[in-house]
Amino acid sequence: MSTKGKIVAGCMAPHPPHLVYGENPPQNEPKSECGWETLRWAYERLRDSLKEIDYDVLLVHSPHWRTQIGTHFLGYPEFKSLSVDPIFPHLFRFHYDLKVDVDLARSIHDRAKEKGMIVKMMENPDFRIDYGTITALQMTRPEWDKPIIGISSVGRSAYFSMDVMQEEMIKLGEATREAIEASGKKVVLLASHSLSHRHFITEPEIPEDMSQEHIYHHGQYLWDMKMIDLMKKGDVQTIFDVMTDFTEQTISECDGGGLMWMLSAMGMPTTPAKIHGYGTVIGTGNVVAEWRGQ
């Protein structure tokens, strides 16, 4: 392809299965009365925003596909099965049917390998897609009409430190950008995770009882607001600078690396992010945010 490919948008797309449960799509077996509207409406705004742009592929980085020996990529053309959340099986039993852009996935894999990263293509047709990938995709593009790429989250932050994780995600982001540019395709990136991630360890009898839903701890709320403020200012460098402290103080799901990967792939954007909304799910802090590609 002669045209240079491009990342047209990068989004923070949190994946609590509660959002799918609250939305009641036909693919999900459990049904709710309502719930988590602030976040679901934030996703509505994201969907409206993405309608303004043309794109070919959705690329998801999910902390619920956790690997330890390197970063893995979905490498089989299609997957159709049932995804059941191991923690919230009463909320999320989702029948999915998706197609994978294996060529682009392999290209990112190859470039990451050239940079010295340990990588692997996941080519087993029986593989089950994790709920972090599915929820982010369902909430962002419920039509399921675009091919996707799934990237695993390598456990460097637990094995070594957030600093090591950050270095690796910067490299993975660079490999992602180079492969997309070479592909000629227009791609939307999804970093599928929460911000603060301290959570309650019990849930109300009615899961969607919103009188019980609030941030777990004020300290993590302050941190979330700090991070969102930096996003709104387009101060990505400071986001990187404070990422280790933020993650440690709030047990943030940023430890999975998605946000760092995405911002690196987008060339560390200095433009402000559009904040579509913020809300809590069993006490965790979640933002739906969007950066447009330059």
Partner: protein, 334 residues
């Protein structure tokens, strides 16, 4: 391997419903690629020996506590009568797929859940078609009971639970075994050290990834070979700090649960079937048969607990507002 099947000898400290306890590894290599490495082959051969023992013991139930099944909302107990799926491991997908169908002891699962609740735990049954049964449990049941002859029950490992809660989870199992009159083989599925060698599998040497991990594994194996289950249980916090890599899992718990359900004592005959590395982690197959001849060198120093009322930070001496975790009211600081 010691050849003859040991007949359990029970003391007052033992749960007489437990025929034998095992600690078994859960990575899929011995099941899917036993010929891939000499180490995996040895693990498979050891698994096959354990399977023969289990068949000879002819239990009513195989009861599994799996560290590969992480829960956060209390404790989950598998209760679907015939869970079936084709499992592919997140990490080891290139080794192949694992089709399975198991037979759950639903009556026991319900009794276990009820016993947990009575002892103050948050506990629930999990009975959904397609629920992702963890790799450790699937590997274990496929290797131990390939013809699905025995009923099983699997309980999750709550990542935030600490010793008091884990001990209660074991006692809940003991209550349920007694109430349902089951004779069981009880199994903790866990690696010893869990530090992967971070290199491509084809470049990975058959060795434990760090010498410190190897020393701790050997220390545990030496104790277990002598039947010192309770000593190992009480060294779990230390082992967690020294040889486990997990930020979010509070502590190393498989021996707390195993000791609690079998009986918190060193009166066991231990047997180490095999110990090998898998991608740098420590994989051991260990059996423990109740005996009336306790091992020496008792090192018990932690309290026993009957009802869960919160954790007590044993090492720091902190006390929870609601009590000290052992049913006593908090005493005011002087």
């Amino acid at each position: 391997m010691k050849d003859a099947l040991k007949t359990p000898e029970y003391t007052e400290a033992h749960c007489k419903n437990v025929l034998k306890g095992f600690v078994l590894p859960g990575l899929p290599h011995p099941l899917l690629k036993p010929d891939g490495r000499p180490a995996w082959k040895k693990l498979r051969q050891a698994y096959d020996r354990v399977a023969k023992e289990v068949e000879a013991l002819n239990p009513d139930l195989i009861l599994i506590y799996s560290t590969y099944w992480a829960s956060i909302l209390g404790h989950q107990i598998q209760a679907l009568p015939n869970p079936s799926w084709t499992l592919v491991d997140d990490e080891w997908h290139d080794l192949g797929s694992i089709p399975y169908e198991f037979s759950t002891d639903v009556e026991f699962a319900k009794a276990y859940n009820q016993a947990n609740i009575e002892r103050g735990l948050k506990s629930r049954l999990t009975a959904y078609e397609g629920f992702p049964i963890d790799t450790g449990s699937v590997v274990c049941l496929k290797l131990l009971d390939p013809n699905n002859k025995f009923k099983s029950c699997i309980v999750s490992s709550n990542i935030y639970s600490d010793r008091a809660e884990q001990i209660i989870l074991g006692k809940g199992a003991k209550d349920a075994l007694q109430r349902t009159n089951r004779k069981a083989v009880v199994i903790s599925i866990s690696s010893l050290s869990n530090r992967y060698s971070i290199v491509e599998p084809e470049k990975c040497e058959d060795a434990i990834s760090s010498k410190k991990d190897e020393e701790w594994n050997q220390k545990f194996i030496e104790f277990l070979e002598k039947g010192r289950l309770e000593d190992v249980s009480q060294l779990s916090r230390q082992f967690h700090r020294e040889a486990r890599v997990t930020k979010k899992v509070v502590n190393y718990k498989p021996f707390w649960w195993l000791a609690s359900v079998m009986g918190e004592t060193n009166a066991y005959e231990g047997e180490v079937y095999e110990y090998q590395p898998v991608q740098g982690t420590g994989a051991a197959l260990i059996g423990l048969t109740p005996t009336a001849q306790p091992a020496p060198d008792l090192e018990f120093d932690e309290d026993n607990v009957e009802v869960f009322q919160g954790d007590r930070n044993v090492l720091a001496g902190d006390q929870e507002e609601s009590g000290d975790g052992f049913g006593r009211d908090e005493e005011p600081l002087q």
